[in-house]
């Protein structure tokens, strides 16, 4: 870790709980299409895996947080199934940008003495039941009041809602379709080294820009995958996390659902080619005592290729307007200076509303991502750092990671984590 940027930031105090909380367990179901079970069943599956990862049993978890768009099962049912007696729970409305926000809430409620350890989950049949792309029942739902200002114009799906931001970025800064397509190329390269990924095929720039247009500027391959899955992250005090089998991923700072002005209709307040990260970065880096230059691996939400690019730019990984260049010059690929979404993310691994990117960065910090590298006789995976197809996806010497969560151009969340050095 280079601490070159630290002088600009507050580093002297442990302010805002910096370092005090950690992710001690992560887990997921398979990523697939064609679910054979309910979100309740998916949730218990993912939470069980995370508890196993944390070396915890039902008596160790006493808090639960979940989020959904009314397409999941609430925490009390899931906790009951697993024999967990809750001292705290909350089921929150929302999709992307919830992961980091809920991690922050978990830290707050533990700090307040309301519970000790929180399991956060997102369970969704995003392909087989409530389709995340917006087709099916959601697309034909009656249109009420405030929704008339967009849905009545055929302005409804995530891609449709975000497109004015994406196009305006191309207009303002000359960003090209080929530059942005490089995000899919990088994430597909990473996914090819992830046995869990739903799409493991590597793609080229040409594959992306020659795929059919969904709504300009989005080609089919600029859009994420819809899958059925659940994911779980367990948050506890770092002190407690040190007793767990895996090294803690220590939380340095969190930002939750930070908004541009006019969150009711963010396009009213420009520049519309600037996203919420522009505001969130001032909380994220200052509270972490770190800057973008200190980060080894990023997880920038890829609902679309463009969302990854816009956030990396507005969080300061490059100059404003240079996002197209940043994502296409090799920096974000495995083997590059700062790989992004090393699991393949939403574009390739599976769609989880942000959870899998935090899970991946946790594993990167532990130095034990689940790729195809050989496992030795002691059960330890020996990473080769050969990033050829079907090979390794562990990044060398990961000290600091950043997650940049996206709800929409006007709203985002973020988190910085670091390796434990106690």
């Amino acid at each position: 870790m280079t601490l070159s940027s630290v002088s600009e930031h507050e580093v002297t105090s442990n302010r805002y709980l910096r370092g005090k909380y950690s992710i001690c367990g992560v887990g997921e179901t398979t990523y697939r299409r064609g679910s054979t079970e309910s979100t309740r069943s998916l949730a218990t599956w993912a939470i069980s895996n995370a508890m196993k990862d944390a070396g915890m049993d039902s008596g160790d978890i006493d808090g639960m947080l979940s989020y959904s768009g009314n397409d999941s099962t609430f925490a009390p049912w899931v906790a009951g199934d697993l024999g967990i007696r809750l001292n705290f729970y909350m089921d929150v409305h929302g999709g992307g940008s919830s992961t980091e926000a809920l991690i922050g809430i978990a830290m707050g409620v533990i700090e307040a003495g309301m519970c000790k350890t929180v399991a956060i989950y997102r369970a969704m049949n995003g392909y087989s039941a409530v389709r995340i792309g917006g087709t099916g029942a959601r697309s034909a739902a009656p249109i009420l009041g405030d929704q008339i200002h967009h849905r009545a114009y055929g302005w409804q799906s995530a891609g449709q809602m975000f497109a004015p931001t994406f196009l305006r970025h191309m207009y303002d800064y000359g960003t090209t379709p080929e530059q942005v397509a490089a995000v899919k190329v990088a994430h597909s390269k990473h996914a090819s080294n992830n046995p869990k990924a739903f799409y493991k095929q590597r793609y080229t720039i040409e594959d992306v820009v020659s795929s059919r247009i969904i709504c300009k500027p989005l080609h089919l391959l600029d859009c994420c995958v819809e899958t059925d899955n659940a994911t779980c992250i367990i948050v506890t005090r770092t002190e407690r996390a040190r007793d767990c089998p895996n090294p803690p991923a220590v939380i340095q700072s969190v930002v939750g659902r930070c908004c541009k002005p006019r969150a009711d209709m963010h396009y009213q307040h420009g520049p519309i080619s600037t996203v919420a990260g522009h505001y969130a970065k001032d909380i994220l880096w200052s509270n972490a005592g770190l800057g973008p230059e200190d980060v080894d691996v990023t997880g920038s939400y890829d609902a679309f290729t463009f969302t990854t690019m816009l956030q990396l730019e507005d969080y300061g990984f490059c100059k404003k307007g240079e996002g197209g260049e940043y994502v296409s010059d090799g920096t974000i690929e495995l083997g590059g200076r700062r790989p992004n979404n090393t699991s393949g993310g939403h574009l390739c691994e599976g769609y989880t509303h942000g959870m899998n990117m935090v899970i991946e960065n946790t594993r990167q910090l532990r130095g034990n991502v689940d790729d195809s590298c050989p496992i030795n006789e002691d059960g330890v995976r020996e990473h080769t750092y050969n990033y050829e197809e079907g090979g390794c996806r562990q990044v060398k010497n990961v000290e600091v990671t950043a997650n940049l969560g996206w709800a929409m151009p006007g709203t985002g969340s973020a988190m910085v984590m670091a390796k434990d050095h106690k």
């Binding site: 008339i148 967009h150 114009y153 302005w155 196009l167 059919r212 009213q268």
Partner: protein
């Protein structure tokens, strides 16, 4: 009674208690584009809200605004999501800056009003017409009736305005 009407096969409903949207869409049915003006700030706002975004002032009045502007950005849909739009693709959603209050109260703010790109008669335009419209195109508002007391504002090319030689379009065409 809620105001309710079928529009292209979609059921649109404005509840009794949703006074702001009732007023907005009722004015549209009289072919008037009216926006709320905050009593304290004197600033217009879009879409309808319950208080002034700049002062928090809950007092406002509906004032008529000229429905002319410039395309700030757009969406061009080729793969329809909603069943109502299946036979309309490609269609365009325009986000246009009204001339009124553009760049106020700060440089990058504007009344950015959404609507589909329509003919002057309120029909969806052809794919050829879509190719002539982009960022910078001058547009004006028209209204398409949903019921007797409810109409939707939409955008059409402003034929009386001076148009840019080549409005900015997505490059890959």
């Amino acid at each position: 009674m809620p105001i309710q009407g079928d529009y292209m096969g979609m059921m649109l409903t404005i509840e009794d208690l949703d006074q702001e949207n009732r007023d907005f869409f009722k004015y549209c049915s009289k072919k008037e584009f009216r926006l709320q003006r905050g009593k304290k700030s004197g600033l217009l706002r879009y879409p309808p809200t319950t208080a002034c975004p700049w002062t928090g002032d809950r007092e406002s009045e509906w004032v008529p605004v000229e429905g002319r502007g410039t395309v700030h950005s757009y969406v061009e849909v080729h793969h329809p999501i909603q069943p109502a739009f299946k036979d309309k693709v490609p269609y365009m959603i325009i986000l246009a800056d009204l001339d009124m209050q553009k760049g106020q109260p700060t440089e990058h703010e504007a009344l950015r009003v959404a609507g589909n790109l329509m003919t002057e008669d309120g029909e969806f335009v052809s794919a050829e017409t879509i190719k002539t419209v982009g960022i910078g195109t001058r547009v004006k508002l028209i209204y398409v009736d949903v019921t007797d007391e409810f109409a939707l504002p939409h955008w059409t090319i402003d034929k009386e305005a001076e148009q840019p030689q080549k409005p900015w379009r997505y490059p890959e065409e």
